[in-house]
Each structure stands twice: as structure tokens, then as C-alpha cells.
Subunit: 230 residues, 2 copies
DNA sequence: TCTATATGTTCTCTTTTAGTTCACCTTTTG
DNA sequence: CAAAAGGTGAACTAAAAGAGAACATATAGA
């Protein structure tokens, strides 16, 4: 899964975070790995992000976060709503009224989904997302956080939260969560072609992958999307 | 995740909250960090809010609240409210449960917005949209339905519902609802250029419109987006 | 209602720190 | 061998941080 250097860097970041609570800068990581240029670090960081081990805020200093660790070691709590989140108690002045009836539901956030990597199983069962009722499908739904830009041309951006309705079949042209070889979960448009199944990204920089139908398993279909701007 | 200063400030706020139950004022934070101006504190607070470590109420004095702490340390309970802590009653919940608490709010759907046409005033006062709490800004919010494709390259598609926080100013680069000549409302990225204001679409087929600042009135800024797939 | 005080927000300017990209080279590995 | 991973250095861009002042807003009391 990881190369030696990537692994080394990941552990260094973890230690720094645990010790000081502050992520290391590229220069510090460069020194820690004994490198002389930080562009190497840059590439390693990209690799770690692509593989779903860390998350970071684009163009922000020291904004790294560890999402999981390779085999064995326990991952730390991800951002967002962990168990220690406390709900605010806004005094409602001109504030909109809380929706106390059945206009919304909470569904579990099962993790992140990226092109070419498994869903992080994110066993945090205490991660939930509130979703407007109307956005749910009929079946059982859960949420995933999108990682990567393989679907940008369909308006699905990195960081978006997608609502997935569990199902094991899909119509041609639907966007689905597909598991390939029981390993890699991806969010793609599905098209069938005889015995083959095509998983089509919405980004010119990525290629359509075609597999034998037996290798692809549909896990759900896209029914909604939430995005927050900061 | 955090820079040294951000981390330092966060811990200071936590300690103050634990000791006195009251959040420190900007001046106190300024002194605690050894600064001579509180504008720096303001920026740090914004960074902490953006990263999801604290929450605050707009224009309220000493209204900070710690949501979580960086790796390791446990978040402290907020002063006044012990009752509204998210209860860890997972396990029995594999089916989505209705959200009967304050995780979502209903905001009015004010109509549709398109490039170059006024918002259809949609005086249906009975149109509401349910929105997850976390997606709201701090101010007064309302929803609009997007019509047209002038923002597709930012992942805002025809038919999407956008959440707008009412405000009359915006920072450079923010996506805003702008009223031109008190007539045409559009959803665009705003950039200032001296006396002029540019409204930039996210679609190669549309042109940036530049107006004298006096002709453009900001009505709100984009804070969230909802999309349903059928 | 007016006003003083405390507090929070914005703005501009400057310096420092940090992240990104690129061209090119070397090492490792399937 | 070829591809992928790793490494270097430099130029460039952007964010963080500090200062100081003007302005906005909330609250309580006259």
C-alpha cells in the first residue's frame, strides 16, 4: 500500500501531531526525512493524500490531518463530527426555527470514497450526517465524503458529501458506488456493454475502466449531494 | 492541522473556558499571545472556525465555543449546556432515525436565480427547505434554486438548491447573489477592481461582467449546496 | 432615547513563513 | 529496460502573522 518513504513520512506526521498538536511544515518534513528539497516532500504528501491516509486543506499552511494508518496502528478521530462534538444552543432571535418534525433524518457517514482506493471503512459508528428528507431515496441510505476530482465535470467536487442509496443493481447511466474485485470502491457512472461493465469518470484526465461484469459489484447509487462553502 | 499560533490560542481559550466559564475577549486573547493588535486574533479565530475547532455567534461578545481539540486531548464540556451533548447511542441504529433535535433547520425557498434575470419572487411563503445545521452560515439564510449553467465549472448545476447567507458585503472571490441596477439578480463570483466590481461566471461560454460599484448590490453569499438525483 | 463602554469587525500595509511547480537527474523495482 | 519512485534547486505564489486605525454593534445606565 505504501512505499517506505511514504510510511516514514506518515509516521513522522503522526508523531508530530501527537506531540505538539501542530502539523509540521514542508521544510520540517524535509529535514526529518533527511532531504534537501521540499518538492520531494510535496510529492510524498500528494501520494499519501491520494491513497487516503491524510487529508489537508488546499493552500493552507500546516493543515495536515491523519485519517488512518496502515495496518495495525489505530487511526485518530477524523475531523467533522466525532463523539466529542457538542451541539450549540443558539438563542433563536432572527434565527430560523429548528426543524423538530420529520423533515430530516440522520444517516451514517461511512467514510470517504476516492478514485481507485477502497472506502475507508471508518468504523466510527458515531459519525452521522443530517440530510433533508426529500433527498433520500427509498432504500437504506448512507453518506460518503468524496475525495479527489474524478467526477468534477458532473459537479461532484473534492470534499462534497454524497448520499448513497444501498442497492445492488443500477440502470445504465446512473452514478454508482462500485466495488471492483472486492477491493477498490469508486464513484463513477455505470454503463453496461454486453458482458462488460464500464465505469466512466467525469474528468478528461481520467480514463474509463472496463471490467468483466463479474468483477464489479454495485454497492449503491447516488441520490443526493451536500456541499459546504467556507 | 493547526499552526503553532492557532494551537496556542485554542488551548488558551480552552483553559479560560475551563477556569472561568466565560470565553476571553479579543483583547484578552491579544495579550495572552503577546500581540499588540487584535486584528491578528481575529484572523486566528477565523482560521480556527474554518478548521472546525471552534464555533461562535456573529457579533456577540465572548461567544466562543470549543467544538473539538487537536489529536489526543479531550474536548472540555461547554459551560452552560450539559443537556445537548450528542448522545452516543449507536448500535441499535442501522436504519436512519428521524432527526428530532436541532440538527437541521428549515429555511425559506425564495425562488429561482438565473444569470441575467431577476429572482422570481416566488411569493409562496409556504416553500421551505430543510437544511443540515452545519451547512448554515452565521447569519440569516435562505435558499434559491439555480437555473442555468453559468456556474457549472464550479460544480453548481441547473436545478441545484443553493443556501445563501444574507449579507451586503462580500470578500473578493466569494460567490454571491448580486443585484445589478436593482433589477437583475445573478449568482456569480465577485471580484473587486478599484471602483469596479466584476461578476465572474464559471462557464467559458459566458463573459465576465464589470460594473461600477454603485450599480451592484450584494444580497448574500453562497454557503451551501444541495442536489438531488432522480 | 441618548450615550458611554466594551467588544467585535474590517481595512490597509508590511514582513515572514510556507506551499507549489518545473525542469532535470538518480535510484529502485517489476 | 522501462516505469515508478525518489531527489535537487530555483522561481514563483500564496498564506500567516503583526501593526494600527477606523468603524460597527451590543448592553446597560442616565
Amino acid at each position: 500500500m505504501l512505499t517506505a518513504k511514504q510510511h516514514q513520512l506518515l509516521l513522522f506526521i503522526r508523531d508530530r501531531l501527537a506531540e505538539t498538536g501542530v502539523s509540521p511544515s514542508f521544510d520540517e518534513m524535509k529535514d526529518a526525512l533527511g532531504l534537501k528539497s521540499k518538492s520531494g516532500v510535496h510529492r510524498l504528501i500528494n501520494a499519501l493524500e491520494e491513497r487516503g491516509f491524510i487529508r489537508r486543506m488546499a493552500n493552507r499552511a500546516r493543515a495536515l490531518e491523519i485519517i488512518r494508518l496502515p495496518e495495525g496502528q489505530a487511526a485518530s478521530q477524523p475531523a467533522g463530527s466525532g463523539s466529542n462534538v457538542v451541539s450549540p444552543d443558539f438563542g433563536a432571535k432572527s434565527a430560523p426555527a429548528p426543524a423538530n418534525d420529520d423533515h430530516s433524518v440522520e444517516i451514517p457517514l461511512h467514510g470517504r470514497i476516492a478514485a481507485g482506493t477502497p472506502i475507508e471503512a471508518l468504523e466510527n459508528r458515531d459519525s452521522f450526517v443530517t440530510v433533508p428528507m426529500g433527498m433520500m431515496g427509498r432504500g437504506n441510505c448512507y453518506a460518503l465524503e468524496v475525495s479527489g476530482d474524478s467526477m468534477v465535470e458532473m459537479g461532484i467536487l473534492d470534499g462534497d458529501t454524497v448520499i448513497i442509496e444501498s442497492c445492488d443493481t443500477a440502470r445504465d447511466g446512473e452514478v454508482v458506488v462500485a466495488l471492483v474485485d472486492r477491493e477498490e470502491a469508486t464513484l463513477k457512472t455505470l454503463k453496461r456493454d454486453g458482458r462488460n461493465v464500464a465505469l466512466i469518470p467525469a474528468n478528461r484526465d481520467y480514463n474509463t475502466q472496463t471490467y468483466d461484469a463479474g468483477r464489479v459489484q454495485v454497492q449503491g447509487r447516488l441520490v443526493g449531494l451536500l456541499r459546504q462553502y467556507h
